[in-house]
């Protein structure tokens, strides 16, 4: 885990003091909302449908038990007893008082967290692979690199007022568990001739104009990475459109000028930037990397496991993934109980996950973009104890990557931008497919719901995606098939006319029934869709 140095702590503390004074002036009537709004947004404080919402950054989704417990404390003391883990690997609190916001930021600053750059037209929280440091397939731990990018991008004076928000993901494996190709910039660490470097992608994103990123450079040496990113951002900052919010993302710029021309300009800029000495010395990367050193794994940890409890065995098969260290496993804690609210966790549940991380997982937790929690380093011998503890607080749903493991944005129940409610629809779908055997028979099926075109629920990247729209004051849902945010990245296609809430649940069942009829061998749903195309599904849905 990264630990703040004196500079990190000083800038975060200074920001808290600054925001406290800004809030004081707003409450005293010395500032208008127009004057105050950009200031509160810089500190992650939105005004949503019912109240202020505070989004706290979880850098690359990694946190320790002390930080997790603090989130439970915030939920209990300042909110209404729960928090919402987001598709950006952050957490949001939905019922924050403006007058409490400075105190909350002061409390989280004590445990090395903040809400800086969780809003606004700047570089947002860096996302990464939730299995970082535990996965056998990574070429390196991506987190030291993500941390370096975080430090470079925090309060970067040139990139604090970009044309639009900017999202960066860092991964280090061919299996993409972070939807990297759907970020403004994607960084994949790779080895070439024994040297670690990065493959750079740019111009991806979801929203109203979804695009898959282009490979811009097949290899950037480690010592050049910050300069190269600087060049990528400079070209975007210079030419990205500021006249039209809907055309301001880097994906539009690259689409309009072409990937080749963008690459040419980046290379030209890189040649100039590289002379400026922006790249940190190796010693700095080594200092950061040392903080992410592997925990003290036991070399002889037993690998045997008692599978006699059938429910435990199902959970093992579905939610537990192999670890790079023999005798250890990666545990995925589903925040998607049948009928629950995707991504929500109560303060008590947050405390239990923190306790389990401290006792069994070398004090580490991860937030996933699929709105689940990972305990990355669990001894195989401890899996049963962890499962028992999770089951006691309703966190042992064995549905990872199944149809009920639904990504859903807060939707019209909470969000002032939304046009339709995502959560009740997610609940209805999960209840329709509640039978665990049926879910497992359907296999990997990633269902993602957004309550508006902004696509916080990643509907474009769902094997099955749903987009809520407002049709003359009534909620309506469009159905999409064939998307993926993984290494087989693709964008879903709309099936046809939209549905009511109940209608779209029925339509999904017709889609899954069709899949079962036409699938071959071990095909996943998305494989079958790619083989047979839209027509059989469309025929089943619309007749």
């Amino acid at each position: 885990m990264y630990k703040y140095d004196e500079y990190d702590q000083a800038i975060v503390d200074a920001r808290v003091d600054e925001f406290r004074d800004q809030v004081r002036r707003r409450l005293a009537g010395d500032m208008t909302e127009d004057q105050f709004k950009p200031l509160r947004l810089m500190n992650g404080l939105y005004l949503q449908l019912h109240a202020y919402m505070l989004r706290i950054a979880v850098p690359y989704g990694t946190l320790d038990s002390r930080q997790m417990r603090m989130l439970g404390h915030i939920a209990r003391k300042y909110d209404r007893g729960y928090g919402h883990f987001t598709t950006r690997q952050n957490i949001q609190f939905n019922w924050i008082k403006l007058s409490d916001a400075p105190d909350i930021l002061a409390e989280i600053a004590k445990i090395e967290m903040h809400a800086i750059q969780t809003s606004g037209n700047c570089i947002r929280n860096i996302s990464s692979d939730q299995y970082a440091g535990a996965a056998a397939d990574e070429v390196a731990d991506p987190r030291p690199w993500a941390e370096l990018v975080r430090q470079w991008s925090t309060f970067h004076p040139e990139f604090s007022h970009l044309p639009r928000k900017f999202k960066i993901a860092v991964i280090a494996a061919d299996e993409d568990r972070a939807a990297m190709r759907l970020h403004d910039i994607g960084i994949q660490l790779v080895m070439r001739d024994g040297e670690l470097g990065a493959k750079i992608f740019a111009g991806g994103g979801m929203g109203r104009t979804p695009m898959i990123s282009h490979e811009i450079r097949d290899f950037v040496a480690a010592d050049d990475l910050m300069s190269y990113l600087e060049a990528c951002l400079r070209v975007y900052n210079r030419y990205g459109r500021r006249d039209n919010i809907y055309k301001a993302r880097i994906k539009i710029l690259i689409h309009e000028i072409g990937a080749d021309e963008y690459r040419r300009q980046v290379e030209e800029e890189f040649a100039a930037v590289k002379q400026l000495g922006l790249d940190p010395p190796r010693a700095e990367l080594e200092r950061i990397t040392a903080m992410f050193a592997a925990p003290a794994f036991a070399a002889d940890a037993p690998t045997d496991i008692d599978r006699s409890d059938p429910d435990f065995a199902v959970w093992l098969d579905q939610n537990v993934k192999p670890h790079k260290q023999p005798g250890y496993a990666i545990v995925n804690v589903s925040l998607k109980p049948i009928g629950g609210i995707p991504g929500d966790a109560s303060a008590d549940q947050i405390d239990v996950m923190a306790d389990l991380a401290e006792r069994y997982a070398f004090d580490e937790l991860r937030v996933t973009h699929a709105q689940n929690i990972v305990l990355p380093h669990i001894r195989v011998a401890d899996l049963k104890a962890v499962w028992d503890a999770l089951a006691e607080v309703g966190l042992a749903e064995a549905n990872l990557d199944l149809i009920s493991d639904i990504i859903a944005c807060p939707g019209l129940d909470y969000c002032s931008l939304a046009n339709a409610r995502s959560i009740p629809l997610a609940q209805k779908i999960a209840e329709r497919f509640a039978d665990p055997a049926r879910q497992r028979d359907l296999g990997e099926l990633k269902l993602k719901i957004s309550g508006c075109i902004n696509a916080c629920g990643h509907h474009h990247a769902g094997h099955i995606g749903i987009l809520g729209v407002d049709k003359k004051g009534v909620e309506n849902f469009q159905l999409l098939l064939g998307g993926s945010g993984a290494e087989d990245v693709s964008l879903g296609r709309i099936t046809g006319p939209g549905f009511s809430e109940d209608g779209v649940v029925d339509a999904i069942e017709r889609v899954t029934d069709t899949y079962i009829k036409v699938r071959e061998g071990g095909e996943r749903f998305v494989d079958t869709y790619r083989r047979v195309g839209m027509e059989p599904f469309k025929e089943a849905i619309y007749g």
Binding site: L47, L49, H50, Y52, L412, N419, R421, P424
Partner: protein, 98 residues
């Protein structure tokens, strides 16, 4: 009918113009009619209320209700957490939202 709504500045709570002040309960709202925009502007200028604005409402036997689903959800609270709505003890709370 025209309803004036906004958010309480320190708490962020959704509030409704009652004719002589603000309430957290939409039942207390009044039809501000032709004066709605002027009331919103005056309240904005006083800097006590966060971004007051005017919405369409409808009169019902139980009092005024917002016309659009988004405003109805805003008036009651999240439909998925009845325990967090303004009137959790009322079994009919929420029936008018959707």
């Amino acid at each position: 009918m025209k309803l004036v709504t906004g958010n309480d500045l320190p708490s962020g709570d959704v509030i409704w113009w009652t004719g002589n002040g603000w309430s957290r309960h939409v039942e207390d709202a009044v039809d501000a009619g032709d004066h709605a925009e002027a009331i919103a502007r005056a309240e904005e200028a006083s800097r006590r209320v966060n971004v007051p604005y005017v919405i369409e409402g409808v009169a019902t036997a139980e009092g005024p209700r917002p016309a659009h689903i988004k405003d109805r959800i805003r008036a009651l609270g999240p439909t998925v957490r009845p325990d967090l709505t303004l009137k959790p003890a009322d079994p009919n709370a929420g029936n008018w939202v959707i």
